[in-house]
Amino acid sequence: MIELSRTVESLAPSGIRDFFDLVMSMDDVISLGVGEPDFATPWHIREAAIKSIEDGYTNYTSNKGMPELRKAICTHLDKVHQLNYDYEEEILITTGVSEGMDLAMRALINPGDEVIIPTPCYVSYYPTAKMAGARVKLLNTEPDQFKLNPEKLADAISPASKIVVLNYPSNPTGTTYDKSLLEQLAELIIKHDLIVISDEIYSHLTYDLQHIPLPTLPELRERTIFFNGFSKSCAMTGLRIAYATGPEKIIGAMTKIHQYTMLCAPTTSQFAAIEATNHGADAIASMKKEYKRRRNLVHEKLNRLGLDCPLPDGAFYAFPSIKKTGLDPTTFCKKLLTQQQVAAVPGTAFGPGGEERIRISYATDFQQLREALKRIELFLQSL
């Protein structure tokens, strides 16, 4: 009899697994369920990766990542956000934000420490916190337009609270935080001596507001681990490359785990990331423009169909309410899929606050998106 780790056994399987199997069994599906860009990685970035292989760079790099890449990212953060990080001690190149998230949780959490996670949220925060041994407090942001309400955060904070996870712009809601809300949250974070894990992987896709990285707020730099990466901004999901910046002490601890569990991020991808950091701006801007056009289409159409949907500030997701249909999200998504061959993800996959919602990804070609919205309209008429 094989006995598994009780922590692992207690984790629920990913909420979208069943659904994935169902989608795969069908033909002619337009999927609005994809959490990655539909664009191909810009060619000059792919070329940099290919060239590195041709040149024979297929060996390990320094644990922290190639100095050239760390320098390029630090220079970029300084230029764009006036964020100063020392490339030697305050940045770690990771195999995706996914790895970085796990490292941060493990580097910081002692048994009994509490992690506060606003929901609905990206699927990895809860499991990584749990696997690191944390107690997790979920805060439903649905009543507050999917923004963490400072009063509710104040109420939730206990002596055991250690970490708050923020993600803006958000997967799955598309919400971002403006300056005044960030300042209110910062006040509490400082007052209660919390550490913030700030997942800003969609920062490049902020449509109307200016994205404000959390560590740019006064006194937050020394208590924030800032995550960003290339998966979304440069359509490089499969290259598995990202970075974390933060105080030397935390980055050092994360590096310690990383050197044993990952050794280094993929070398080929590090070369691609150098090119993306130094020359990716135009490609990022043109993809952003296209996403924004789609966002406007989706937002307008969903609201016209009566699926109440807040205007997404960023990322490539819309998170409309399906309450008026009387269906729960899983039933809604299954019916929509079987009757109209359109796939979306039930809001319940993202934790409390998603019970009456579905996630629609508009990382989908514009014409396909129009067709999918038309099919959703037909589906709603058939109910």
């Binding site: 659904f19 994935f20 599906v29 369920g33 016209r304």
Partner: protein
């Protein structure tokens, strides 16, 4: 370029309500803008891109791309002679180019012979035309941004977090 034009350049049949949605404008504002572009000739017209190889009944069309060398005229430069050429109904497009030739003339007809006739009878004898070189189009891969061959396929998983 104006966002309305970008959307229509992509899809000339996008309905008003969707244009309005994508542009965050009212339908009547969009309609007014559209009318202005049409009136001013910014929008020349709306055409359909057809893949004729998918039709069994329609006569196949032959497309000739003809490079034409002409002598520019003292007053009118290339314009007058170009007009004499592009006014022919067989000419679908006509461009003045830099390089080895002056005009690129896109001619469409239902047989090779018709194109040959056009070149021999209408084009080559023109007073200021001194050389033509004809190319026949064999296959369309992409036209006006639209793929005639299936585009590279989407490798993504259809559901991901």
């Amino acid at each position: 370029m104006d966002r309305l034009l970008e959307l229509l350049e992509d899809n000339g049949r996008m309905p008003l309500n969707e244009l309005a949605g994508a542009l965050e404008m009212s339908e009547s504002e969009v309609a007014k803008k559209l009318e202005k572009f049409e009136r001013e000739g910014v929008i020349k017209g709306y055409k359909t891109v057809i893949d004729r190889t998918k039709l069994d009944d329609a006569p196949q069309s032959i497309i000739g791309l003809i490079e034409v060398n002409i002598s520019p005229q003292p007053d009118t430069g290339f314009d007058q002679i170009a007009r004499e050429i592009y006014d022919h109904p067989e000419v679908r497009s006509c461009y003045l180019c830099s390089g080895d030739y002056d005009l690129l003339v896109w001619v469409e007809a239902s047989t090779l012979n018709e194109i040959a006739e056009f070149v021999a009878r209408e084009l080559a004898p023109l007073k200021n035309v001194h050389k033509t070189e004809s190319h026949f189009m064999l296959k369309i891969y992409k036209e006006g941004g639209l793929y005639f061959e299936p585009p590279t396929s989407d490798h993504r998983l259809s559901i991901s977090p």
